[in-house]
Amino acid sequence: MKNKILPFSVIIIFGIIFFIFYKGLEDSKIYTPDVNTKKEIPVFNTKEFFSGENVKSSRIFEADKVYLLNIWSSWCVPCRQEHPLLMNLNLENKLNIIGMNYKDNLKNAENFLKELGNPYKEIFIDLDGTIAIEWGAYGVPESFLIYNNEIIKKYIGPLNQELVDEINLLIK
């Protein structure tokens, strides 16, 4: 009897391990940072897009106001797709959309806005990508919904109609 317990338990343990690993295969291995935690927005210094003047982040983001920070770039193809949605968002409600121009050639960026329109209330530039890191972003496009100097929600990748509806619900 005693001899039988050991092989039997070994088989069961291996079975359990196999099951756990097999289940693990189904999980996505692509990691995305947490998008729902509320975080204070970072403090940084940057330059204004059109004038090239130095601005402080505290001047761009006022308390008690809702902002949508959108990280974009003229070389980013998904940005081109989401741009009409931003234009609509800008027209339909009083949401302040702030643009952050990410590692871009300013001439190209200006042409991009001329071609597709400018939904942004204000644009600042991030030439070396370090401000994006302050925000915890890792690519373009990314959008942050901000209220009272706090990030309420983070959208990684281009916005779509569903997400725009969600934003409209959130800001009501």
Binding site: I30, Y31, P33, G129, T130, I133, G139
Partner: protein, 120 residues
Amino acid sequence: MKFLKFFLIVIILFPLSSINAEENDIRNKITKNLRCLICQGQSVYDSDSEFANSLKIVVDKKLQEGLSEDQIYEYFKTKYGEWILYDPGLNKNTYILWLLPILIFLIGGAIIYKSFIVKK
């Protein structure tokens, strides 16, 4: 005179270059322990993506500001979560990861002890 000049230049440059090397060492060590989120599976050190290049700049800046290695890890952890570190610390999410090998070692040791040593 020429020799003196050369000597002076060597003396002036030597400590600077060694400081530089030290800084590069720590920078490489840190970027090797940071995971690139764009090209998952690569470290920031290995990657040449936009994100990784910016991260290297930030690491340089933080080192210049005088932050220690752990402080820099802590900074990135608050921005991107524990996952960005290849070498995660011990906390409630990772204690199984850290303790499982020890547990397996102990159980294995117990089995060996029971079946080989006690039997004799």
